[in-house]
Symmetry: C2
Subunit: 338 residues, 2 copies
């Protein structure tokens, strides 16, 4: 008899979410049915997209239901199996949610993925070799499609997605420039991740100042921008885009709570003949094998670096998630569950 | 000895341009040199892009120089030639500018194009079978790329570009919906051009009202939008775009004078996974032959209709141009010079 703890969505936020929107509950798990697998989660992934799911309004995905376990990517180990394809001890990743255990009907292909932890740590399959890494790869390869010698800028550059974007751009022979909040993150982006430059946006509270910093960091202009935040940073980058520049819209953290933030000068789309394109990585599953192959190889050989921000225990997940939305994490935000 | 009248840019506008920004001058033309052709202009084309050239600021093209003849597309007849490829009587189109005659160094390929007026009227080579038609074709075919059954919306639908966009969309089996100013233009767009619906934006002064009108005219949402104006219309259309919708940015009339007009909710680019792309037809010359072939065939067989707004005489050009910027023209704006 396995006791499971899980975190549910208790209420939808009005404006910024708070810890009160979440509820920790305990349950006893039923026995496994044929085809099912019991997974003990070692790691829970916290990601910005979860904020969108907490709303009831129009978005690209169904809202997270109230009084149900919060959606989330997980990595763990099979501890019991009634499915011939999975054995006790298998390391697996899936969408197990904010909970210690998940019973997974593993007969549906793709619901649970076995992973090899010989050269790649289990937690990396939630980050650099998982959804965030694939997000970086798809946006960079499919939308920005940079040529060697071009300049690629990415916001939230020390985060799970942004750090992979810049390093993949470097592999492709580009100049990689990050935007991050604070001197520690910027030093990490340049010194550890190998970006050519990183701008501390907190030092540039107005458009003019940020635009000037971008000009210095990108002397040949900007050819590709991987958009993770929106707002004034987008305005400043657009002013510096070269003709035929490409912007991949992956996230707009600053717009998730409250009012939408306008784009100040959309006529630049015409003036600079820009392409702006939004995407969701789960709609590009055909690209995942190529993405994960390159990402896994780069991690295994030490060429793709990443950093993890680890909260301890399921009960710490809500605060860690709220911190993520405010940019308090440093690298991929995880919760260690076992 | 040929006397030529021309209109020059006398000063750059601050805000809305006025007739004072233009100057009519008279000159005596020099004798032709070897390789040159003297063209008598029958038609001058007036187009919104000219407004951008009047500014000194950053744009996709060099500013129109002060005290020089205004740039503009022209159609006319060769009246003298020292070039073996052109004979007196040839009908030609080129960028002759706001003047009665042009001396063209026709040895450079593409500067002057001979056209066949057997089935297509000369003036159409400045409209439906010229730059505006090619603009419609490139934006629709290369960026929006609509499938049969999809809904395509175009603003400035009764204009030279917009009218071609909707009719080409109908040829491709799409639902075509226009936006135009006033009941006369809307009736023309539906009854003469064959669009499925046309919204009089002047009847919808706020976002809520315009959005509702779009919902009624586009019951299955909007898959492609051909953007000629910017501002609130763009905001309203974006709210109604289907997932994976495409927006071709061709012009933003409402932003040419004064301050840029923001895009209210750019996060829709992500939420609806939109692609927004700006383009300038002169940068897609490789597509022109296919475009002009289809457009010429449709005009010759009466399947592509168009309307012309004709000002009489060169001196009328400035007022006609100012009217064009205010949407006072009805169809392709031309000046009849001979």
């Amino acid at each position: 008899m396995t006791v499971n703890q899980q975190i549910q969505l208790a209420s939808r936020p009005t404006g910024e979410p708070t810890a009160d929107n979440f509820r920790l509950v305990q349950e006893t798990l039923p026995d496994l049915q044929d085809g099912q697998v019991l997974v003990k989660h070692h790691w829970l992934s916290l990601d910005p997209y979860m904020r969108g799911r907490m709303n009831d309004g129009k978005s690209y995905a169904q809202p997270q239901p109230l009084d149900a376990v919060m959606i989330g990517g997980t990595a763990g180990e099979v501890v019991a199996s009634k499915n011939p394809h999975f054995a006790v001890g298998d390391k697996v990743v899936g969408m197990g949610g904010w909970q210690q255990y998940a019973i997974v009907d593993a007969s549906q292909r793709g619901v649970l993925q076995k992973v090899d932890t010989t050269h790649v740590p289990l937690s990396a399959y939630l980050g650099a070799v998982g959804m965030p890494g694939a997000t970086a790869w798809v946006g960079l390869t499919d939308i920005i499609a940079p040529k060697a010698g071009e300049t690629v800028v990415v916001s939230a550059a020390s985060g799970a997605v942004g750090s992979a974007v810049g390093q993949l751009a470097k592999v492709r022979g580009c100049r990689a420039v990050g935007l991050a909040g604070g001197p520690d993150k910027c030093a990490y982006v340049v010194n550890e991740l190998g970006f050519d430059a990183c701008i501390d946006y907190k030092q540039h509270p107005d458009l003019r100042s940020l635009s000037k910093a971008l000009k210095e960091a990108c002397p040949d202009g900007i050819d590709g921008y991987f958009e993770n935040v929106g707002g004034m940073i987008l305005d400043a980058v657009m002013l510096r885009m070269n003709a035929f520049g490409r912007i991949a819209f992956c996230g707009m953290i600053s717009g998730y709570s409250g009012e939408p933030i306008p784009m100040t000068n959309p006529s630049l789309i015409l003036v600079s003949r820009l392409k702006l394109q939004g995407f969701i990585v789960s709609e590009h599953m055909g690209l995942w094998p190529a993405a994960l192959k390159e990402l896994g190889g780069l991690v295994a050989t030490g060429k793709l670096k990443y950093r993890e921000s680890v909260a301890e225990g399921l009960a710490a997940a809500p605060e860690a998630f709220l911190g993520l939305l405010k940019g308090r994490n440093f690298g991929k935000q995880l919760v260690k569950l076992a």
